[in-house]
Amino acid sequence: MSNAVLPRNTTRQAEAMLYGAAARRLHQVSGAVIIVFVLVHMIVQAVKHVPMFASAKAAAPWLQALQEQNWVHAILFFCIVFHTFHGLKLLAGELGYSLHYKTAFWAIAGVSALFGLREVLRYAGI
């Protein structure tokens, strides 16, 4: 019996997740998260270490705590990994290489989630 791959069944297009749209949205959001993080990080480090801002440091103790939440780290790492790998996928595409959109999405999202999970576990001491 033949094992040849059949053509797709495209009769439920409006019920499927639109991978390209989801990936693009995630890429935009993760990019924004990274930028926001860098800005926040700069501010926090300045407040922490630069003597000029000592009064701000005293007035906002929550700035330090913010960076040490496990969920903040988890989201941040997810975003960095997703944004990087998806960006590499796009670059590869511009050189002519393709990955199937569904496989790529779940693989990249999966690896990114693992990195995020790793942060949670690290904070939990595992």
């Binding site: 495209t10 009769t11 409006a14 693009r24």
Partner: protein, 233 residues
């Protein structure tokens, strides 16, 4: 055997010659679970709204003229299965003639502009033309593009940038691969906004003919960087 089900279809009604703005009308339809969206639309025309404007012809996914948006996703009405709740709208971003029928003049103008016949260096010498069997098969696959505009409708780059659309890139690539064509297809593609493509592959996912305009674009991009001797997919 199919089962009876109740369907609700919300259809965008708009006559630009008369209406100030579009409105949505809801129809309850008694259908069956194996119906396609086109069956629902035809039932509404038959029994409830004799003034509904919609387009179809082959009802077998070949003419590509029944494109609509169902729940925000561009599809062929004759191919897409019905759903208990459906919002049916005309295919964006084309001008609406009435209700679900759009004006495709701009589409034809763009096809014409791209000169999609083999630009031969020497006149056709009579057949059979020398074409590798595998290449002939590839050309035929690209030749099965329906020009349905589902990919153009779903493309975010078309919505946001100056880009003709995936369908046109696919046809340009089809010509580029034809052994008798000497046209500057890559240059044409770039002029038509090819570089605006986000590489999201939504066109690949949505294509009712299982084609990948995004892959055609990737091949053009490769050609741009590495030159024409780059391996074919």
């Amino acid at each position: 055997m199919p089962t009876d089900i109740k369907l609700r279809a919300e259809i965008r009604r708009f006559d630009p010659t008369v209406d100030a703005q579009p409105r949505y009308e809801t129809y309850e339809v008694a259908g069956q679970d194996n119906w396609r969206v086109l069956d629902v639309i035809r039932s509404i025309y038959q029994h409830q709204a004799g003034d509904l404007a919609y387009q179809f012809a082959c009802r077998a996914g070949r003419c590509g003229t029944c494109g609509v948006k169902v729940n925000g996703v561009p599809v062929l009405a004759c191919q897409e299965r019905c759903k208990p709740e459906m919002r049916i709208e005309p295919l964006t971003p084309f001008p609406v003639l009435r209700d679900l029928v759009v004006d495709r003049s701009e589409v034809e103008a763009r096809y014409e502009q791209h000169a999609l016949t083999p630009q031969r260096a020497t006149a056709y010498a009579g057949g059979p033309e020398a074409i590798e069997p595998r290449l002939a098969e590839e050309l035929c696959h690209m030749g099965s593009c329906l020009a349905c505009m589902v990919c153009v409708s779903g493309c975010p780059a078309v919505a946001e940038r100056a880009f003709d659309g995936p369908a046109f890139m696919l046809k340009l690539r089809h010509m580029a691969k034809h052994p008798a064509d000497t046209g500057a297809r890559l240059a044409q593609a770039v002029d038509a906004g090819m570089l605006e493509c986000f590489g999201c592959d939504l066109c690949t996912q949505l294509c009712p003919a299982d084609l990948s305009p995004a892959q055609a674009i990737r091949e053009f991009r490769r050609e741009m960087i590495f030159g024409k001797d780059a391996r074919h997919e």
